[in-house]
Structures are given as C-alpha cells and as structure tokens.
C-alpha cells in the first residue's frame, strides 16, 4: 500500500484538487517502507520495519497558507483535509515573501529506483548482519553496525497543473569494527541506491583491516601536514560548504560568498583551478530526484520537503576551474533580483582525475592518510572554518608507503582554504550521496591530539 504507482497517486492528487475552494492548492503524497537492523557487541540489538503513506494539502488565500495532513484516503477524509487546510490558511498570518505556485513543469526521468532494494525483507537484513558479524567473531574483533533500507515515492501536484512523480530506493550501511583490546578501530560506509551493489561481508572486511592496522597508534605533534583525504573523510566538509551557497545570505552580507562592499562573489575565482563542482540528476552513478532538494532560502515547504518548490532539477555547474558559477536562488529572492530561481541540488559531483587512492599514497613523500572525520561543527561561518577530529584509522605516510598508525588529531580548517591547497585529485567515488575524489591537500591544520580510539 505504501508504494503507489504514478496512476494511483495521480488519482488521489486530482481528487484532492477537485475539492479545493482556495485561491491555490498544492498536494504532496509520499509513501515509504523503511526497514532496519542494528547490531553491537557482535549481536543483533534491534530490528524493525515501518510503512508510511501520508498526504499533505496546502491551501492558499492571497499570501496566507495553511497545511493539513492525513493518512486516510477515503473521499470523506480527503475532503475533510482540504477543508481543514483552508480553515488553517484563513487564520494564518500573511507571508510577505509568498510566491504564487508554479504551473506545469517538465521533469527528467532519473534512475533513483532499484527493484532489488525494494525487495529487501527481514531475512535479507538478518543475513546482511550475519555476513558482517561472522568474520569479526572469527578474528576476535567486535562489530557494531547498522543497515537501513528505504523504498519510497514522492508525488506532487497543484491547482495550476503542476504534476510530478518519482520512485526511489536507498540503502545505508555502516560498520565499525574494534579490536578486542580497544586499541584499534575501523569504519566503512558505502553509499548505494541498488542493494545488489552492496556486499556487507566485503565492506566489513575493509573495516576489519583498518581496525587491525590502526591498533597501537603513535602520537605525532599537531601542526600543518600534507593529508590524503578519503572521500568518506572529506564529504561532510565539502557538503557543508556547498550548502552555504545561498545567494540571499551572500547578498545580505552573511556568507563566505559575500563581497567586501556589498554583493556576492559570483564569478570570482575562490579555489584552485582544478576545483570543479557540478550536479546532475541523470548521472548513472549518482541518480537524484528530478524535483526537490528545494532550499535556496525561504523555501515555503509547500510540498512538505518532498518536492521543494517543485522547481525541476537539472545539470548545473556550481564551481568551474575554481570560479563560482552558480548559487542557489529561492523563487522569492530570484524574483527580487530579477534572475532565474535555482534550487539547491540533492547531491553534488566534484570532478577529479584518474588516480586511485593507492596512487595518491604512492606519490607522497611525507603525509597523513585520513580515512574519516568525526563531529564536524562550524566554528566561523564567515570563513567556513570547521573543527572536528580524525577517527577509525589515521596513518603516517613516508616515501609513498603507509608507515604506521597515528593517534587521532583535532583539526581546525576551512574547505575554502583546503581547496586552494590542492596537490592532487583522484577518481571520484560515491560518499554520503555525492561523488567525491580522494584528494591530496597540503598544509592541513591539526590543532591538538586526541587519545580516542
């Protein structure tokens, strides 16, 4: 029941819109089935599955809007929900930034759905957990992991003729392996839509190797080092920077993209010329929803997070050869500035080269391999300065080889500075819903040591 076809969903959306007496009405119908299994200390601790199908109706009178939601779908319930949304709208305060709803849009057909993921059942999850726990038990290592699979659809429609439908699946699997003495720890967190690309045993073996290799780490002095960042390490820093590319914040003078004296830094070269970021919902390795991603300032949540403003996602270049090419513009801010609205992407692609992680290590005289960062928090939004720590395997490299594990460091660094200190970029791989190259960065700032394993 939770996963409706396009036709089934459209029938409900059309019915709801037919009940409308408001100036404008939009409908968001979302369904998903989520299952999970969690384990720790080599034993399954919890598992569960849930279905959810819900409908949100937003009614608008002038600049007043109201939303009501329901999870019953008989005619009487649908009409009641429409009336309730209309009542809430009439009593709501005016939103001076309200933008009239969009008319019909053309959406791309992206490949976000995988049948093999949609078929996951409790036995599959138990087997996935067993495949992860068993090799650890045999090597006297301790596994703690989590797998969550989601199959869902999002359908949006409005009284001006806009209609969109998309099905998607996703699997999130993460595994931490620790040595029995607690002196080594390794982690792996692959990112796929299609579960046939996930092998929990092979993934666990990567974490096992890191756990064993990271035991009995030595302390190095904090300071500036050349680092090789695995994509699992750099993803959050890059994501944080990319999420800060809102044009309104920059125009208002409160962003790293604000220009001295007013305006934005659109068109300025801020990074090394090898730095290029794009987004492309049609990318075969990273398929993304054709609508949604929303954001871009003042997003009025009209489709309850399922569709953003309903603006179509398309291929866009954000940073090209180090130059800022695009920023997010909400419909309100775009209208005010007389430009085209641009939604934030659902995920980004940082272009790289052809080298593997091993190649990057081989070409390094002295450096540090960082496999993961943890607890990253903003220190100064003005400079995009973040702090955080290395975790689950940090290694010293000398003469092109990993020499020994080192104790974890705290860093204070800005991705903007980091992307000016690029030494080399490898071949991009998926990490956290993006495509990111392993990268070699000089003068990365570590500010203190941590005893944590």
């Amino acid at each position: 029941m939770a996963i409706l076809t396009k036709e089934e969903a459209k029938k409900i959306v059309d019915k709801v819109l037919a009940y409308s007496k408001a100036d404008e009405m939009s409908v968001s119908l979302n369904g998903n089935r989520t299952g999970n299994i969690r384990y720790a200390r080599n034993s399954v601790s919890t598992s569960g599955e849930s279905d959810n199908l819900s409908l949100a109706v937003t009614a608008v009178y002038g600049k007043r809007s109201g939303t009501a939601t329901i999870n019953e779908f008989d005619d009487a319930s649908l009409e009641k929900t429409v009336r309730r949304a209309e009542e809430i709208a009439k009593l709501a305060p005016e939103n001076p930034e309200y933008m009239p709803m969009l008319g019909p849009q053309t959406y791309l057909e992206t490949g976000t759905y995988s049948e093999s993921t949609a078929k996951i059942d409790p036995e599959f999850r138990a087997k996935a957990a067993f495949d992860s726990i068993d090799p650890c038990k045999k090597k006297n290592l301790t596994a703690a992991g989590y797998m969550e699979d989601t199959t869902g659809f999002a359908c949006i429609g409005n009284s001006k003729g806009l209609f969109g439908y998309n099905r998607s699946t996703g699997v999130d699997f993460s595994i931490t392996v620790r040595t029995a003495d607690g002196l080594g720890s390794g982690y792996a967190n692959p990112d796929v839509n299609d579960v046939s690309k996930l092998n929990t045993k092979a993934t666990t073996e990567i974490a096992m190797q890191k756990a064993l290799a990271s035991a009995s780490a030595r302390a190095l002095e904090p300071g500036k080092y050349t680092v090789i960042l695995e994509p699992t390490a750099s993803v959050e820093l890059l994501q944080n920077m990319m999420r800060s590319m809102d044009a309104r914040n920059a125009d208002e003078g409160r962003s790293f993209l604000s220009k001295k004296g007013g305006g934005t830094r659109l068109g300025e070269k801020l990074f090394d010329e090898r730095v290029t970021f794009i987004s492309d919902p049609m990318n075969a390795e990273l398929p993304l929803s054709p609508f949604g991603g929303g954001g871009g300032g003042g997003g009025q949540g009209r489709f309850g997070g399922g569709g953003g403003d309903g603006l179509p996602q398309e291929k866009r270049t954000w940073i090209e050869n180090g130059v800022v090419k695009n920023m997010y513009y909400s419909r309100y801010w775009a209208d005010k500035k007389g430009v085209k609205p641009i939604p934030a992407p659902g995920g980004f692609i940082m272009l790289g080269g052809t080298q593997s992680l091993a190649d990057l290590i081989k070409s390094t005289d002295k450096g540090i391999l960082v496999t993961r960062f943890w607890y990253i928090r903003a220190v100064d939004p003005q400079t995009q300065l973040y702090t955080g720590l290395t975790r689950d395997g940090t290694f010293y490299i000398e003469n092109g080889q990993i020499k020994f594990p080192i104790k974890n460091f705290r860093f204070n660094e800005s991705p903007v500075i980091m992307l000016n200190n690029v030494e080399a970029l490898g071949k991009p791989v998926r990490a956290g819903g993006n495509l990111i190259p392993p990268m070699k960065i000089r003068d990365f700032t570590f500010t203190s040591l941590s005893d944590a394993v």
């Binding site: 595994i175 801020l270 954001g295 003042g298 990253i376 705290r410």
Partner: protein, 546 residues
C-alpha cells in the same frame, strides 16, 4: 530532526531549512486541535490492558505499553515577517515485550481500539521470538515494583498552547523590531513548544499518566559590516525549559545582572534581544584573542554544553559497553576506572549529579519509560567517578539492584532505551559570587552563552566556542574579545576546576534535541551549574583569511 539539524534550523546558516518538516509520524493540525483533550485515562487503561494481556497470553514474561500523544508548535519569524506557524500532533501506541529472554517491539499509529493494540502486541512477540534465535546474552531485567494508577504533571503555570498564536507572534515581532532599532541587520526568532501526553503501563502493575510541557524561545541576531565584508552573530541567552509560557514572564528576581543579563526561570526576551543587537555590533570591532593559556570563568549558559558533552555522554552505560560504537561512540570512562573507586574525574570541587526529578528541567518526569520512579544520584563525588546512568536491563552490570530511571523513547513509534538524565554540576558550598570569582583572576576569559562544540567519540578531546567573551586582567573585565575557542582533555579540564559559585548563581541550560541511537532518536535534557573557574585552559584563535 536530530540535534544538529535543529541547531542548524535555529542558526542563519542554511536558509533553505528554515521551515522544518513535520516530525515523523505526525500530522499538521490547527492550533485549536492542540487543546483538545486526548483519550480519557480509563480508555487508555483499557487499551493498555488489552496489549498486556495479549502479550502475556502469547508467552511474554514481561510487557510494557506506551500510549503517546505528542503535540508541537513552531512559531518562526525573521525581522518583521512571520515565516511559518507549524502545529503538529502524533498519536500511537508502542509495545515492548520479553519472550525467551529477548526484546521485541512493535508500534501502531492512531490505535483507538483493543483489537488493533492486541495485534501490535502479537507482532512484538513474534519479533522477539525471531530475534531470540540470534540471542547471545538473555535480558536481565532489574525487578521493579508496580505503583498502581499514578499520575505526574509538569509544574506549569500557563499552558503555552492556551496562549493565542497572535500573542506569540506579537511578542516575537516586537522583539525583532527592538533588535533592528538597536543595530541588528537581521534577526531570526523561533518559539518552540512541546506537550508530551504519555501513558505507561507494564505487567509489573504500574499505570502512569503523565503530562510533560517544554518551551524553547531562541533567536540569532546578525550585525553586518559591508565595508569590510564582515558579519557577527549573537544568539539568545535563553534556555529550553520544562515550563509553560510562564518562562516568558519577566521577573526581576530571575535575572543575574553583570556585563550582560543572564536568566533563570523567567526570560526577558525583549531585554536580551536589545542587548544582543548591541553586542553583535560590538563584536565586529572587538579585539581578536591572543592564543595561549587562560583561566576561564564559565557562565551556566555556556557550561551546560561542556557538562553535556564531557560528563553526560561518557557516563552513559550503553556507550561504555559498546552499544553505540557505530554511531555516537564509546567512552573513556571504562568500568575499570569506576571499579577502582579512585579515578579523579575532576578536582575536589567537582560534584556531578544525575537527576530526573529536577524542577523545571527538560528531563523531569515522575516515572521513566519503563515504569521506574525517577530519582537523583551521584555520578562524580568530590571529584571521584562513582556511578553511571543505567536502565533496567543494564544495572546488574554495575551491581545495582534497581534501575536509575533514565529510560526514554522520543515517540510512541520508537523503542525506549537508555538516555541522558539531567546531569548537573552542584553549586559550591562556600558563598562565592561571580564578581568575587573574577576578582582573583589575573589573566582570564569570561565566557557567556554556548557556541561551536565538538568532542571525540570517546569524549577525551573537546573544543568549545561561545556567544560572548570578555577579557579579564588583574581581576577586572577590560573588554570584549572575539575568535575565541578553548580546547581541552575532559579529565584535565575537570581537574583544573578550582571554584564553583554558590547556589544563588545556579541556573539551568539545556538542549531539546540530543541525538543518539540508530535510527536516531532525540531527547531533551537540562544541565545546571553555577559559574565555575577552570585554570590554565588552552585557548586558540579561530580567525582565518579566505
């Protein structure tokens, strides 16, 4: 929404998520619907008994039922605009059972009759039976006496949901106007209110009906210097509280005056936002800190977060045992340190307590989510680690006979597990005011309000920022500083505590959305302290050029 997303929501950073999506399994309703009574307590008991009887008849040796109605309201504004008002309601039943020594859990939304609830109990039993096949350690549940039919209500004077939305909007917009008049360029101001109506029943014979209220006003004021391309912010010095709208009643006796006003059980938003606008501007031209060692004087509006991260989390027994290894992490405070009875967590001045009964705190309830009457207990006594936070299926590990009563689920649809109690630093026993504490400091920094925070997965190494930093020289506050963050090791930091002000300075801070577990659950928790002094802490300068 986890704590981090929530913090992001309240900051100006990502404007795209200024309007939060609805909490899971909840529906958007009218403000009036938030005042409708939930199910009658007799009906709840009937539903609960149906579930308990169904579970027992299918072989459960223990079962508990939580019937929950969760009401939330967000009022979101910026400058002179209302960005949104979100009212949501979530109602359902969660049932947990032990069969063959193994836990099973199932939940069902909008459950209003006995057969639906009994069916969910059956599902919970079947999950327990399936998981029992993979079981390695059977559940050892600490015995718990039944309390019969009992109830608990948060000590609120004015239910926030009874206050008309217009009154709230008027307050927020008038405060925003005051900020703009006093030099702010932008202001985001949010009011969040919660009512959890929870009914708990178990096969031990407890039927607890509880009514929990929380409120959290929160703003960020921004000042921009376009000529130099710089901006600075100052967040509110309010705290989320286990109170009703009475928290927003101005009361002079709840104010601590000094370099800026700080608040106890009554928050003067207008005064704070006016000061914030001036201080955000002042920050733009404040002196950039010189890195080095300083004696830190930390206000409770700042210290709560350091307590939360460096004491609350490492002393959660499930983290110590490794159950959170893949997500939140483990802990440096291992069992051998506790067993030694001489592990100096802090100096002799440091007394840290866990307390689920503390009045006006976010974590206060009468009974926890597995029917244990709440209490207060020592974690660190005269500097020595003496205990952890543990629940019924864990306390045997630390030799306790009964649970400490800190089990919590964030929704009827979530399974309950060990969560942080209110963990607080006890006030000093010797009379000591903030002024007298500062008088003795030769080279120091006085920090007010919480800012950036980060700590490693075993809770050794941390870094904290703040909202306001004042330089102390030879016992005097000499001016404002900026670009300040301090880094320390948990044990060294708490051992550098040389003084804690007395009870008259004691105040609560806290967070609505402490995240833990997979799938992640959020929990609201308070942390109290009086202003405290820490000697020789490493301060870094966070200014960068891009």
């Amino acid at each position: 929404m986890n704590r981090r997303d929530f913090n992001q929501l309240l900051s100006m950073g990502a404007a795209g998520i200024m309007i939060p999506s609805l909490p899971a399994f909840s529906r958007s309703v009218s403000p009036e619907a938030l005042l409708e009574p939930g199910l009658d307590v007799a009906v709840k008991k009937r539903l609960a008994d149906a579930a308990l009887n169904a579970a027992k008849s299918m072989g459960a040796t223990y079962a508990d039922v939580r019937i929950g109605r969760y009401l939330n309201q967000f009022v979101l504004t910026r400058e002179n605009k209302v960005q949104g008002i979100i009212n949501s309601e979530s109602f359902g039943v969660g049932i947990r059972v032990i069969v063959n020594g193994c836990w099973g859990f199932a939940s069902v939304g909008d459950a209003r009759n006995e057969s639906v609830v009994a069916q969910a109990a059956k599902t919970a039993v079947s999950i327990a039976k399936a998981n029992a096949r993979l079981l390695t350690e059977p559940v050892q549940l600490a015995p718990q006496k039944g309390y019969g039919e009992v109830s608990w209500k948060a000590p609120i004077k004015r239910n926030a949901f009874e206050v008309p939305v217009k009154e709230k909007v008027d307050l927020l917009l008038s405060c925003n106007a005051a900020a703009m008049q006093n030099g702010a360029n932008f202001v985001n101001n949010v009011l969040f209110q919660v009512n959890e109506q929870k009914y708990f029943a178990s096969t031990d014979g407890t039927y607890a009906d509880q009514d929990i209220h929380r409120i959290g006003p929160s703003f960020t004021v921004t000042a921009v210097d376009p000529q130099n391309g710089k901006f600075s912010t100052r967040n509110s010095l309010s705290s989320p509280m286990g109170m009703g709208y009475d928290y927003l009643q101005v009361n002079p006796s709840d104010k601590q005056t000094g370099v800026t006003t700080r608040y106890n059980k009554g928050y003067d938003m207008l005064e704070d936002i006016t000061l914030a606008a001036k201080q955000a501007k002042e920050k733009l031209s404040a002196k950039s800190v010189e890195a080095g060692k300083y004696d830190l004087v930390l206000d409770p509006s700042h210290l709560w977060l350091t307590i939360h991260e460096s004491v609350g989390h490492p002393l959660e027994l499930d983290r110590v045992l490794g159950y959170e290894a893949n997500y939140a992490g483990t802990s440096f405070a291992t069992l051998d340190k506790w067993e030694s009875k001489n592990f100096n967590y802090g100096s002799k001045e440091v007394n840290l307590v866990a307390d689920k009964t503390q009045q006006y705190s976010l974590g206060a309830v009468g009974w926890d989510d597995e029917g244990v009457k709440t209490k207060k207990w020592d974690l660190v006594k005269d500097g020595i680690l003496v205990n952890y936070q543990a629940i019924r299926d864990q306390v045997h590990i630390i030799g306790e006979k009964e649970s400490q009563g800190c089990c919590y689920a964030d929704n009827w649809s979530s399974v309950q597990f060990q969560r942080m109690a209110n963990v607080s630093l006890e006030a000093g026993k010797t009379p000591l005011s903030v002024e007298n504490m500062i008088k003795d400091v030769k080279k120091g920094i006085y920090i007010i309000g919480d800012g950036s925070f980060s700590i490693d997965q075993q809770r050794y190494n941390f870094q904290f920022g703040g909202q306001l930093f004042y330089e102390i020289k030879d016992g005097q506050i000499v001016g404002m500083l900026k670009d300040v963050a301090y880094q320390a090791n948990t044990r060294e930091f708490w051992n550098s505590c040389v003084a804690v002000c007395d009870q008259s300075d004691y105040r609560l801070g806290g967070a609505f959305n402490d995240g833990k577990g997979q799938p992640s659950q959020s929990s609201a928790v308070s942390h109290g302290s009086a202003t405290a002094r820490f000697n020789g802490v490493n301060v870094i300068n966070t200014a960068r050029k891009i």
